[in-house]
């Protein structure tokens, strides 16, 4: 659509800018402020320059939680995206079951995140949980509160349970918007089911999948509440992801400088990845 130039449009945007800036800029300034200073309490601050940034970037603790975070995000993307597409492909296109599917599938998305954690906790506990009990009954030793592998598996499974529906809903909406003529033409051209998927459905889903991957990347990279309630970051530090580590440093140990420096690095990483991904997709689109 051709837009008209109109500087008065700024008046319409002012409330949004004020509200968001109030919430974004002031805290961000506070974080920047902390990240370059040292304090020993009593609101006395000393200039420290980039010391905290160097410290964080060189600390093993940060490297570990960063790598854990990458591994976690990578794993859930690899599982949730194909699974979501698969479920969306096999969902009915019309009829009474569509509503049933949509409502039931969207349900996990609307559960408060700590309830998700608590629910999975009692679901997976080896003594009273259905999942934990069943796995142990199969003869596999499973206890997510003590075994790192079990804790990992449970956290990933919980995230798959919680968020795959988002990918399903996006992919489903994308599939519904493909005109029937494409499927009819494919039939006439003698295309196999695989070609239909590869040549019609996947290309048409590209846009919604980009959004799905971006959202899942962002949200999984920021994940805090669910694993915190489920495992508390343990056993040991095995499920301590970036946010959990950050809160531990900032609110647990009250090391404001390193926490602030880490926050900024963290934020920048998310921004950078999103920007790179977005730019690559757009360039690809332009071709």
């Amino acid at each position: 659509m051709l837009k008209t130039a109109n500087q008065k449009a700024w008046y319409f945007v002012v409330p949004v800018v004020v509200l968001v800036a109030f919430n974004a800029l002031i805290p961000l300034m506070t974080v920047v402020n902390y990240s370059v200073q040292e304090t020993f309490g009593d609101n006395v601050f000393f200039w420290e320059g980039v010391k905290w940034f160097e410290e964080v970037l060189n600390s093993d603790r940060f490297h570990d939680s960063f790598l854990r975070q990458l591994a976690f995000t990578g794993m859930i993307l690899v599982i949730e995206v194909p699974l979501g597409i698969g479920v969306a492909l096999s969902m009915p296109r019309k009829g009474p079951w569509v509503s049933v599917c949509l409502v039931l599938m969207a349900l996990p998305l609307l559960i408060p995140w700590n309830v998700v954690g608590a629910m999975w906790n009692i679901f997976a506990l080896p003594d009273i949980g259905l999942l934990g009990r069943s796995i142990n009954a199969l003869g596999i030793d499973y206890n997510f509160t003590q075994q790192p592998e079990s804790a990992w598996m449970t956290t990933v499974l919980m995230d798959v349970w919680h968020w795959t529906s988002l990918v399903v809903l996006l992919a489903y909406a994308g599939l519904c918007s493909i005109p029937d003529a494409y499927y009819q033409a494919a039939k006439i051209d003698g295309a196999s089911a695989w070609s239909v998927f590869w040549r019609i459905q996947l290309p048409k889903l590209k846009r919604v999948l980009t959004i799905a991957i971006l959202l899942r990347f962002m949200d999984s990279f920021m994940i805090y509440t669910e694993p915190f309630v489920l495992t508390g970051g343990g056993p040991g530090n095995t499920t301590t992801f970036l946010s959990i580590d950050l809160v531990k440093i900032a609110l647990g140990q009250f090391d404001l400088g390193p926490a602030a420096a880490m926050s900024l690095i963290y934020f920048l990483v998310v921004l950078l990845v999103c920007w790179v991904f977005y730019t690559l997709m757009m360039r690809h689109e332009g071709q």
């Binding site: 003529a181 033409a185 006439i188 003698g190 071709q287």
Partner: protein, 355 residues
């Protein structure tokens, strides 16, 4: 290639059709001769696309049979019917090049790559697509994309029929006639059966040798453009084809004499309608209405000058009649008398012509 016959085909999208209104296609018997250029003409929602999808096998009709060369193919899947279809909106495979798009139906059928190449080059030549063969199909203009859709039908040498479902809807007006004459040219050159669905009478009459007119789920007339103009089978055909459409005027029968508002009218219909019809009308095209001092009296309502001729609208009782008058003929003002050319005036009983 094949002759296509539809025998008592009916189709309803409902699972349990009860009334006749539940059917999108009510009852169609039609034969499409091998190598013919047909147009399927009718207003939106008259069942054209449904009928097309029944022929292509995308739909299985609720009743009746579809025959290709006297073989029953009613339940044969689309791919085995060897048909091609071009849709209203161009369907191209975005991620593939133009070449791969054209080669797609052949490759799916496992044809050797050398042969695929030859066919694609040949068809690309006919459609003037050679220069863009290496480009991605998504970057083409609408008419380019529509040519690819058509090309995917043409590359196969085994097609029985190519069907067009309002293929020019999204094409720019100045490119429409070029694509349409391309279609005519291809029809002459390849001798394929073509069925062209449209709601535009100009498109239908210029493309087809035979026009099939559909109305409300039934075929009302099959004929050449001239036949449709001169002897419409149904008031709908008379009204839908021609500009302006046929005048349809209520009439009474009085001992075999046809009277319009009391005036006797001579017609070409020698038969008379059965006594159980509810509505009797006469139909006469505006081209065959004349001023005549011995005709019946009317008032002149309006004169539209269209350059080469004028359309005069006259009124008697509460009926309006349109007539076409040559540009230099005199038009009386106020009241006048008109008559209808008996050879071109027919009786219609409940919409259907009486011969």
């Amino acid at each position: 290639m094949a002759k296509i016959s539809l025998e008592q085909v009916k189709h309803s999208y409902l699972a349990q059709p009860a009334k006749s209104e539940d059917y999108a296609v009510k009852q169609v018997d039609a034969v499409w001769q091998d190598g013919g250029a047909y147009a399927l003409l009718g207003p939106s929602g008259c069942g054209k696309t449904t009928l097309l999808n029944i022929i292509s096998g995308l739909l299985v009709p609720s009743h009746g049979r579809v025959l290709f060369n006297d073989t029953d193919v009613t339940k044969v899947p689309t791919i085995e019917r060897q048909i091609a279809q071009v849709f209203q909106f161009p369907v191209v495979y975005d991620t593939m090049t133009v070449f791969d798009n054209l080669a797609f139906p052949l490759r799916n059928r496992g044809i050797a790559e050398a042969k695929v190449r030859d066919r694609v080059m040949e068809i690309a030549g006919m459609l003037d697509l050679e220069s863009s063969l290496r480009r991605r199909a998504s970057g083409l203009t609408m008419d380019g994309k529509q040519k690819i859709s058509l090309g995917r039908g043409l590359v196969r040498d085994d097609v029985n029929v190519i069907m067009f479902d309002e293929p020019l809807t999204v094409i720019d007006p100045h490119l429409k006639w070029r694509l349409r004459s391309k279609l005519k040219e291809l029809h002459k050159r390849l001798g394929l059966t073509m069925i062209y669905v449209t709601h535009d009478q100009t498109e239908a009459l210029t493309f087809a040798d035979q026009v099939v007119v559909m109305y409300d789920g039934t075929v009302v007339q099959v004929g050449t453009p001239v036949e449709l103009f001169e002897c419409p089978n149904h008031t709908f055909v008379g009204h839908f084809i021609g500009s302006p459409g046929m005048n349809i005027l209520p009439c009474e029968l009085d001992n075999g004499t046809v009277r319009c508002a009391g005036h006797a009218v001579n017609t070409a219909s020698s038969g008379r309608p059965r006594s159980d019809v509810t509505k009797t009308e006469i139909g006469v095209r505006p081209e065959f209405v004349r001023f005549d001092d011995h005709g019946f009296p009317v008032h002149i309502v309006k004169v539209d000058d269209l350059g080469r001729y004028r359309i005069v609208e006259v009124r008697y009782a509460d009926q309006r009649v349109k007539m076409i008058v040559e540009e230099d003929a005199a038009i009386p003002s106020g009241s006048a008398r008109i008559s209808f050319d008996p050879a071109a005036t027919r009786i219609y009983a409940d919409g259907w012509v009486v011969n």
